[in-house]
Amino acid sequence: MSGSDRGNYGPNTFLFEVAPHPDAGVPVKPQGISRWRAAFYLLLAVLLSAGVTLVPLLATVIISFSEPGAWQEVLTDAGAWQAIGNMLIWWLLVVVVCAVGLGLAWLVRNAGPALGLVMRIILVLPAVVSPLTTGAVFRLLFDTSQERGMASALLGRDTPFLGPGWIWLVLGSAFVWQYAGIAFLVFHEALARLPADLLRTTRAFGVDRRGRLWSVILPALARPAALAYLFALVFAARVFDLVLMGVPGSMQALVEGGGLYWWRHNDDLGYAGAAALAVLMSLLVAALAAPALLGLHGRVTWAGSAPSTRPRTDRARWLWPLGGAVSVLWLLPFAALLITSLRDPVAAAQTGWWNGEPWTFGSYTEALTDSAFISALATTFLRAVTVVAVVLLAAVPAAYVLAHEHLLPRRTWQMVLLVAVALAALPPQAFAVPLQQVLSPIGTAPALIIVHAALVLPLAVLVLHNAFVRVSAPMLVRGRRELFHYVREARPAVVLAGAVVFVLVWNDAVVGLLLNWPSGDHLPLILLEQARHFMSAASPLAAQAVLAMVVPVLVVALTARLLYQGLTGGVRR
């Protein structure tokens, strides 16, 4: 972390730096907190992480060796290998997501604040949408029939986009649409604060363009690249509902990753075999995450330089059409979904959304008078809010202690944080079997809350930790009150952590299905029911998806300013 200095953080310094910062600015060696209190602060977070992820994960490893031949059976199971191979294709899509994010950020790097803002909002919007909805939208857009599918209509003939081969184009587009925005955001921030002084100096010393790229630009992009990669990897490793909704049943086996395969076949593989497959998947994800962890651990930083603002009007002018084209592409799926939801269900099953009439609010009326849908809306909201409360209760004190290294040397904490990142990337199947057995007696609702909380906890701790290390220590308050001071000062990060947790829980379809608690009261599961006859349910499904989307979009819109502060620094300004 050479060169990173608390005092030099510009207003837009990007948040996510995993390794703790040295306290070079203001001396904040705290005295007021005892070892016991620090341990107490960590208690809930440790209990959740250990109880729901670490211990079950270890149990899974042990179970996988409990029956002789289990590993051999999994390793000779052709289906399992196909699923592992598919995970590698999904991994390629992770790289594509990062590349698209970087490419777009590079193109608009000098575009000025207005276009930058528009692009940020439009590109990040899909990340708030549930993968189920994404699957539904892209299945609509790429329907085989030229009467209904926009892509087929553009070609002027029926084209089996959802069939063999083509299906990866559809899934790739959906995945990129949904997550490239996050990569864009990360790279956009990083490019805005390339070390301008250093670039000028190297140019003055006669280093050519290529040399500057290798010696300055690429090192400066290593950390954001690692971060974007890790984010996309988490989503790819857990890819599940996108396939369930977006891919016809006949094609699912060809594209499903380990998670879906595990879900379908864990009965066939047996107790130990299912555990062995879970361990295999975890190892694969850990191996794929390793380069990113190294990148985050590296010593590169961009923190020293202020954002460079060099608006070159000649370039900015041709950038607007480009930005416009990207925006249209990114908004198109939303438009298709909205228009489909407003069309007559019978018409929507037979013709594409661009045919327009007949308009009706029928699908909305149906959804809003369906007691099952409405109650799922309420239950999901309650559940998401409860999880946010539990996570913040656990993560705030934990992040506070972690940020100030009260208990152990700094290096140890770095290791803890890296393990937390790795845990965030693990597919939940890895620890599902033992978890089911332990949690089933306590009832569905508490079990779901605990599992959700534990799964998103590492992310929340990371977000809060990065903000807490930037809070200046209070001059007067000490001890217990100091924690409140930190929360107050790092309010944007607290809101960010809460919003991320809310959106992830709200959109989840994996935990409920995977852990065999399909109690049917979680909103995405209600949406999934409609996929049984996909095209004939197009309009009602779209209406439900729009209604389900409104809540997280509202949450994000209402807290947008704080969220942005949270993302770019985490501390109140």
Binding site: P164, S250, G520, E529
Partner: protein
């Protein structure tokens, strides 16, 4: 009014925690969605009015097996309406079922299907039956082949919703039953488990090859790839709305779908052709209502109420029967197209129960698994690719036998 149901259940946690919950609703898991689910809810409304017990209906879709087998006892529903007969005999699920000791008498064929031991109690009562050996076409056009052997469809003339595994398994069952009824019976001789040895017999391979040749004839590779992306409803649209194909093999419940998208009185059908000289096959399926142990006597009452013969009275269920898409042994539909199938079900002559719905274990269906997956790959090989029907059929047989061997080894 649909205030009862899930809303009730799902609003309850808070209320229950406060200790002021009234009578908890009866939790019913079904697999339907859309129009069929709406129909079922209407039937249930009458029960709520009649018994004053709230009922919550949850559509579990194809996840119903996971729901019933799951480790969490507290989400096991009180009643399940199950389309997969095999699930009743699953060791885990069977222990959770309350057998029927009394109630109305079911027709012999159907009663035997849900009775594990001769003379023992029945595990459930049949709610909805399906007639799965029909081929639908536009009214006024004749396409019926003389026999299965004579059926050589020209490319593009048959619509198949190959994205739905059950559509393919229905095809397989009809062909197998036409060609080798003894093998069909061998696979499921008794009410419980059949003899898996039959899968390795030549009759099964021949049926697979015949099926593969039919599919090969019916599609060009481009059309085959297209068919892999179409679901059951899409295949009906192909014949009756877009008119890109002439016939579609589909059960009786295709009729409401046809009427919805193409209007009344546009369809005709013929029996799925039999082998030359042999009788046409008659594959049937159905949904069986089962009381789970945790539902207590109320669950048994509900099952009895739901499945009872309606006599001459009318309610939401008889309306469903009259309008089509619902067959029961106790009442004839008013739809002329469905009278003959309903009569055949009532006569119970030559019926064979859906094979894939009885499989459990490694061959059990579901997207991307079991027999569904084997048949999807067979379809893909011959209809969307250029593998010869013979080698595709041999590969399919090999996959089935390997699956069974792996399952038996456990």
């Amino acid at each position: 009014m649909s205030i009862s149901r899930r809303a009730f259940l799902l609003a309850v946690p808070a209320v229950a925690a406060a200790g002021c919950a009234g009578q908890p609703p009866l939790r019913v898991a079904v697999v339907w969605s859309g129009e069929e689910l709406q129909r079922f809810l209407r039937v249930v409304d009458a029960y709520v009015a009649h018994s004053r017990r709230p009922v919550s209906v949850y559509s579990a879709g194809d996840n119903i097996s996971a729901l019933l087998r799951g480790p969490a006892e507290n989400v096991i529903p009180d009643v399940a309406v199950i389309p997969r007969l095999g699930l009743l005999f699953d060791p885990v699920v069977r222990k959770r079922i309350q057998p029927r000791e009394s109630g109305h008498v079911q027709p012999e064929f159907w009663r035997r299907l849900v009775t594990p031991e001769e003379g023992g109690p029945e595990l459930g009562a049949w709610f909805k039956l399906a007639y799965k050996s029909l081929v639908w076409h536009r009214k006024g056009e004749r396409h019926a082949p003389a026999s299965l052997t004579a059926w050589q469809p020209r490319p593009g003339s048959v619509a198949i919703g190959a994205a739905d595994g059950w559509v393919l398994s229905d095809w397989f069952e009809n062909v197998l039953l036409s060609m080798a009824p003894e093998a069909y019976d061998g696979l499921f001789a008794s009410a419980t488990r059949g003899d898996p040895e039959w899968w390795a017999r030549g009759e099964v391979s021949e049926a697979l090859e015949r099926l593969a040749s039919l599919w090969r004839d019916a599609f060009t590779p481009e059309q085959g790839r297209r068919a892999l992306t179409l679901q059951f409803h899409d295949s009906i649209l192909d014949v009756f709305r877009y008119r890109t194909a002439d016939v579609v093999a589909a059960p009786d419940f295709a009729l409401p779908v046809i009427q919805r998208y193409a209007g009344a009185d546009v369809a005709g059908h013929f029996r799925f052709p039999g082998d030359a000289g042999g009788p046409p096959p008659l594959v049937v399926g159905g949904d069986v209502a089962v009381a789970m142990k945790r539902g207590g006597s109320d669950a048994l009452d509900f099952v009895e109420w739901l499945t009872r013969p309606r006599g001459n009275t009318n309610d939401a269920l008889t309306e469903w029967v009259d309008e089509g898409g619902f067959l029961t042994p106790y009442r004839d539909p008013t739809q002329p197209l469905l009278r003959e199938p309903a009569l055949a079900l009532r006569r119970s002559e030559g019926l064979r129960y859906d094979l894939s719905d009885r499989l459990i274990g490694r061959l059990e269906g579901g997207d991307g698994r079991g027999l569904w997956r084997v048949l999807t790959e067979l379809f893909s090989d011959v209809a969307a690719s250029t593998v010869t029907p013979r080698s595709a059929a041999l590969a399919a047989r090999e996959k089935i036998v390997t699956s069974l061997a792996k399952g038996a080894a456990r």
